[in-house]
Amino acid sequence: MQALTTRAKAVDRRPMTFLERLYLWNILKGMLITFSHIFKKQPTIQYPEQKRPFSPVFRGLHVLNRDEEGRERCTACGLCAVACPAEAITMEAAERLPGEENLYREEKYAARYEINMLRCIFCGLCEEACPKDAIYLSETFAPASFTRQSFIYGKPDLLIPDPKTQPAELAAAKGLS
């Protein structure tokens, strides 16, 4: 029969030799192997003190973007919700009223925008679907919590700080300060 890999080994069905039936020799060999591991380097990373850097394409928690003037970019088109394979996104659209041009970039905006982080699989399809560069996946992940409710992230949790009014917070969020 054709072997599937080059590493395939035929099963040895010979009866055990006397040395093998004694077990002791093989147990001793195994013990030597485990003993040698005492001197091996431990790959452990002591998490809260030591952190492993994320890869540049890491897909973590979402952020809702603003433009340079601090206006929300999302126009509540719903393309992200349609693209989402986990159906984690819900939103409610609202029309921009006169005088709110400094708040919302487009004429329509998301009055409510929620992502259920327990449903989300962090695939990044919402990011790809968005025509307005409004949603991005950042390099953090959702912290542990005791309630399911706290994993439903609303607009206050998702929106980035306003670059006009809160430049310091924005720099901190980007990890620049």
């Binding site: 147990i27 195994g30 013990m31 485990t34 005492i38 431990q42 790959p43 452990t44």
Partner: protein
């Protein structure tokens, strides 16, 4: 000393009481830290750092574990036999602790002008006592498993009982060869013989006997590779499946006490007990109490090495299958022990003629 026949020597009484308290607390403390050592050894053998959060180097971990177990809810299943259910872990723990009564922990110390032997009772049937009490330990498993009224626990209890009985046989036979050499059942006497000048440790005369003894000790302590009574994957935790809180803690803890005691017994019987190798105790008799303390340290170091071997084996090899266990016990160890006995007898006869 003037003494009436029936007068109780109160000082002796107090001295023994203090000794018992010290030894029991020391055993418990050592067992406590053995649980910690087990986790550390397991971790290091698997390239992990192990518990290191509670206290410096994780040294408070056993207390955290104990506290957690105590805080858990005590659950007694509805269909369990309540009294036996409580008796089980108690019996396991008592049997584990009782053995330390006859172990010679060291030579005499002189305190307040009294000669105090570091042994609770130097009974002349020391080894038989150890065997009797160790066999009692299986009652803890049997009663606990049966009282749980659960098929898995019952299976595990049956396994534990048959395993203990099978391996006790080989263990006893391997010891008979040793006893033929020493000619005494008294543990203190066995140690003194090994300490004599020109006399080596018993391991030199009885290597095969020691091998059989250590294998049987693994089985008696229900340690891997013979931990069939609590095999997680087939019997989901075995005899202590229904237990919670400190009753579970007692079962888990008694295993470690057992391990410590068997290590000490192996050190006593085969490795000279409190004898320090390459050191003539008799020549330094003027060191007084320090000499006894060195002896105690010596037996403790030997015990620690054995405990490490227990753990090392546990984290190296998988569990035996039940038929393999029985085959090994009855078809290999028992005949081997018998042969060992015959050879020892023949050699003794040859030299004594």
């Amino acid at each position: 000393m003037e003494m009436h026949l029936l007068a109780i020597d109160w000082m002796l009484f107090a001295e023994k009481l203090v000794l018992i308290a010290i030894i029991i607390f020391a055993s418990l403390g050592i067992a406590l830290y053995t649980t910690f050592a087990e986790r550390k050894v397991a971790a290091i053998l698997q390239d992990r750092p192990g518990p290191n959060r509670a206290g410096p180097f994780g040294l408070l971990q056993p207390f955290a574990d104990g506290l957690k177990l105590i805080m858990k809810e005590e659950i007694i299943p509805n269909h369990a036999n309540k009294w036996l259910f409580i008796l089980g872990p108690g019996l396991a723990m008592t049997a584990a602790l009782m053995t330390c009564a006859v172990i010679p922990w060291g030579d005499k110390v002189v305190l307040f002008g009294r000669n105090i032997a570091l042994q609770i009772a130097d009974v002349n049937i020391g080894i038989l006592y150890v065997f009797a009490v160790v066999s009692l330990g299986v009652y803890g498993i049997m009663i606990g498993g049966w009282a749980s009224n659960n098929k898995f626990s019952l299976m595990a209890a049956l396994r534990g009982a048959s395993q203990a009985i099978s391996y006790e046989l080989a263990m006893g036979l391997s010891l008979i060869a040793l006893l033929m050499l020493t000619g005494t059942l008294q543990l203190g006497e066995i140690v003194k013989q090994q300490m004599q000048a020109g006399h080596y440790w018993n391991i030199v005369y009885q290597p095969l006997g020691f091998l059989i003894f250590i294998i049987c000790a693994f089985a008696e302590c229900n340690r891997t590779p013979f931990d069939l009574p609590e095999s997680e994957n087939e019997l989901n935790m075995g005899f202590h499946q229904e237990y919670s809180s400190m009753k579970l803690g007692f079962y888990l803890f008694s295993e470690y006490v057992n391990m410590f005691i068997s290590s000490v017994i192996m050190a006593t019987l085969f490795f000279g007990g409190y004898d320090v190798p390459f050191f003539d105790e008799a020549a330094h008799a003027n060191w007084g109490n320090w000499l006894a303390l060195i002896g105690v340290a010596s037996i403790m170091i030997k015990a620690v090495i054995f405990i490490f071997i227990f753990m090392w084996v546990r984290w190296t090899i998988p569990r035996f299958r039940y038929d393999q266990l029985m085959n090994l016990g009855w078809k290999k160890l028992v005949p081997l022990a018998l042969i060992n006995m015959l050879i020892t007898g023949a050699v003794i006869l040859y030299f004594n003629k």
